[in-house]
Amino acid sequence: MANLARFTNKALRTAYSITKHHAQPQLASSERAFATEAAKSITPSPDRVNWDYRGQRKIIPLGQWLPKIAVDAYVAPNVVLAGQVHVWDGASVWPGCVLRGDLNKISIGFCSNVQERCVLHAAWSSPTGLPAETSIERYVTIGAYSLLRSCTIEPEVIIGQHSILMEGSIVETHSILEAGSVVPPGRIIPSGELWAGNPAKFVRTLTHEETLEIPKLAVAINDLSKDHYHEFLPYSTIYLEVEKFKKSLGISV
């Protein structure tokens, strides 16, 4: 009787495991092994914060480094400034940008603008041996969705949208990079020229009139950013109300 029970138990267990295997999602065999291994080793934390009413903080100091924003610079509430970031006067950083100065310094010069969804990062060291900070000088327009990493942008430059500037690249003054250009590491874009493409190649030199337009674009965007700037009060105080409320009710979110 006991033997029969043991036998049926074992049969049921194997039958169950077979059906369980078949019921798993249709992955290739290697991927399945990979996925289940990974699943076994994850230990989720019960107090992981899934939702923070404060959202993402705009200014994230890391250790000693505190991001500095000039008083008349417009930095959208959506932006993340972490580490050593300096946004100088008249500059604007539009929504969705991430400026991570955690390994090295990032500075946005006077009247420059970093448009939507850009990511500015600075590597620890640059392949050219020069200081690897990302420095954007005055009157520079950086188009939307660009990625800048440890590059130096000299005054009065336009960087097209969705361009990628890799470590150590230098864009000299009065030049324009077309949209979608990818500048390989350590490349210098000489003064007064128009470059485009992936990897970026020389297209033509800029006429004097075009060179004069470059700072005008930066100033125009600066004017536009003032409109956006005036929509927001210097800081919001709703978190004070929420904290008071939480304390009175003893809630911890």
Binding site: F34, A39, S41, P44, R57, I60, R100, L147, R149
Partner: protein, 226 residues
Amino acid sequence: MGTLGRAIYSVGQLIRKTGQAVDRLGSHLQGGYIEEQLSRHRTVLNIFDKAPVIDKDVFVAPSAAVIGDVQIGKGSSIWYGSVLRGDVNIIRIGSGTNLQDNSLVHVAKSNLSGKVLPTIIGDNVTVGHSAVLHGCTVEDEAFVGMGAILLDGVVVEKNAMVAAGALVRQNTKIPSGEVWAGNPAKFLRKLTDEEIAFISQSATNYTNLAQVHAAENSKSYEEIEF
């Protein structure tokens, strides 16, 4: 029936708007109303029954969005602004991997070739800023450059590198130890051993960096000091 349903819906809408207007009037009488809204952004969001499973050592930036059936292994980091949408299929991310700022990991339900693939990212992978990974497999210790776009069915093998700004077309296989670049992505050169060692080093660096950011981001209101 459709028009009746719509009519009822709009009546409900009117009642809600009236209610909100009355609330605003009351706050005015109380002396000024609070116009600001709290952030409703949910960092970890589950779609019905598919919930993300995230290891406790993982740094998920508050502005990131981890949605649906996503599993993230130990020591990985999901940086600011990234979106991992595991809503129509699964996303598996191994340990020690970092998905840098503004990156996107997703799978579409419909595909030109009809196959719908999960996105599987191995251990110690570095995915650069603003990369877009769509239904692809990235094996251990690979490096996806910033701004790269990996379409459906792409397999990036161990120790391979996708250069910055590359567009890797569907079902391309990037063999081990090679650098592919350009739009469309083509073979560029082979990786030197030094560079391969650098890839795993950079993954470790990022794990350490993530701890610093995690500590700062998780500070409560009283602890923030500046």
